[in-house]
């Protein structure tokens, strides 16, 4: 089984803080990490390979330093790594990213299954997976929490929704995006780390892809960011201190006055 996992290198947003004076992001000490949801996609791909044979190719589109994310994915069990990188791709929105990734995946030859994390934690859009499936003209199932069965020609998965889950069957090749519940990712093994160090990262640039310039990067992106600002999250911040009974009563009065309870 030929499996491709698409990952993204993201700033560790749990460590991003806002400077209250300048209202800007404080980047100091914020490292780049593999998007947390992509770890589940990598793990699921490696488990499927272990159970059914085949190869796991990991691919990312990003700047040159995204190589570290690919090496980490190799340490976790991926076999080959592809870095789709070119100045021409900078500023791509989800549509252009999917367009470019689709061209890069076509170049890999036969692919049975593509896995993505459900969304990246910087943009939080959850759009590249479904859009990529459409560009490749293959079926997809988003928000998968379990792969029930997989054969050479089809798979059956559980997809979550607000009130529960649905059992969905799809022919292969297909794309799935996965949620956290799907597995518990392993830690890199020593052998994996050695492999990651030596692994060749295949660079994929604009010239190798069958794409058209007007659809690439920021120019090819239908959407544009016109403004970025800090949300107004500061609150009155009234601190209630004292005896439990007193502060509880004061709180309940306040909440009732505001008709919240």
């Amino acid at each position: 089984m030929n499996i491709v996992v698409c990952i993204k290198q993201v700033p560790d947003t749990t460590k991003v803080k806002i400077n209250p004076e300048t209202n800007t992001l404080i980047r100091e000490g914020v490292e780049s990490i593999i998007n947390p949801f992509d770890h589940y996609a990598i793990e699921e791909a490696v488990r499927l390979k272990e159970a059914h044979g085949g190869t796991v190719k990991v691919m990312t589109m990003g700047p040159p330093q995204a190589e570290t994310a690919l090496r980490e994915a190799v340490s976790l069990g991926a076999d080959e790594a592809y870095l789709v990188s070119d100045r021409a791709f900078a500023g791509s929105d989800t549509w252009s990213t999917a367009y470019t990734l689709a061209a890069a995946i076509r170049n890999l030859g036969d692919t049975d299954l593509i896995l993505c994390g459900k969304q990246a934690i910087d943009g939080d859009t959850a759009q590249v997976g479904p859009s990529l499936a459409d560009q490749l003209d293959i079926p997809f199932v988003a928000f998968v929490r379990k792969v029930r069965t997989i054969t050479d020609t089809e798979l059956v998965v559980e997809r979550v929704f607000e009130e529960g889950y649905e059992v969905v069957q799809s022919p292969l090749p297909a794309l799935i995006t996965v949620v956290k519940e799907i597995n518990e990712p392993r830690l890199p093994s020593l052998k994996g780390k050695m492999k990651a160090k030596k692994c060749e990262i295949v660079m994929v640039s604009r010239s190798e892809l069958e794409v058209e310039d007007p659809y690439l990067g920021l120019d090819g992106s239908p959407t544009r960011v016109v403004k970025i600002f800090s949300p107004d999250l500061k609150r009155a911040g009234e601190k209630l201190e004292g005896e439990p009974q007193d502060i509880a009563e004061k709180l309940v009065r306040n909440l009732r006055d505001q008709k919240l309870i």
Binding site: L25, R87, T125, P139, E166, T223, S230
Partner: protein, 401 residues
Amino acid sequence: MAVVVIKNQCDGCEVCLDSCPYDAIEMIDGVAYINEKCTLCMACLEACPVEAIISEESETELPELEKDAYSGVWVFAEQRQGKISSVVAELLGAGRKLADAQGQKLTAVLFGHEMEPSARDLVHYGADEVIYVDDPILAQFNDGPYASVLSDLIEKRRPGIVLAGATFMGRSFIPSVASRISTGLTADCTALDIDPETGDLLQTRPAFGGNIMATIICPRHRPQMATVRHKVLTPAVRDIHHKGEVHIINGAGNGRIDEKTQVLEVVEEIMDTVNLAEADIIVSGGRGLRDSEGFKLIEELAVLLGGAVGASRSAVDSEWIPYSHQVGQTGKTVQPKLYIACGISGAVQHLAGMQSSDVIVAINKDPDAPIFDVSTYGLVGDLFQIIPQIIKSVKVQRGEV
């Protein structure tokens, strides 16, 4: 397109360095330099106090399309098991304002089977027109058929704006619709407006786990598509005197229906309390609860207030409560009217999922816990003493004791 620094205008203040989410600006000879990490997010343009950073348009822009050929605001009226989702009233409320701002029509689009009364009722929520496609194949959500039918309708009727809920359904099939018709899509919006000058839809959404807000436009493609977060926008009020047309299209088929995936079974999992995404009140517990027993207290308060039970990641990781209750970056993002955080320190990971709530109450024994920074009311003390007092006080005020 590229972001560049006008060298002789840059005064070397370094404000842009902090503004860059991608660490793509460095100082070379006392002047800012944009390196190859730049993703053209434009955050630095806003930050630069001397306007030394600009974006340069390149010459490969696509031609302007005829925007006038696209008119009207469409709302996708999501249904499950024949019941219209509550997000639809919110979309119609927002859609009404956008349609009025442009003097255009508001249309609700419903896919289902044997749902004519529901289709007619959408008019009462402000729709001028309802397009109802009735087909057994559309009774239950399935990405392929839903995407094919909606794409076809959009291509034929050319709306200017298409809105859908940022639900599991909307976030699953709407991206493939946008991809098929090659237009932009903005996910999970929390505010929508029309730019009075250009007529473009201003789509505002949180990014970076809610740490920043971004306003996004789709200037050269139509329709402008957005999924909208539940529980944020004001729902339309039902008015049985509102009039509108209902167009029923019998049968979805025109030979292009894509039915590759099949839904074999739908399993509704019974929850003790209300769905987190729909709850007006959420009572959440964290590490401070000490064990799964502690959640009984949280549940008691939640049930009393008619709310849902949430949890921090550490409580879920300790297996005190199932993952479906987790609020935060790797759990659910919620925006209730009232969020009560009990024994939750307030890691950024958790704040990302709840900091947009209207009113936040924090109960924690550590007066320096970061959760107090985002709280409307901060109660410092032992939650095992405070929560029972809150429960008692609510009952007293209601005259139940």
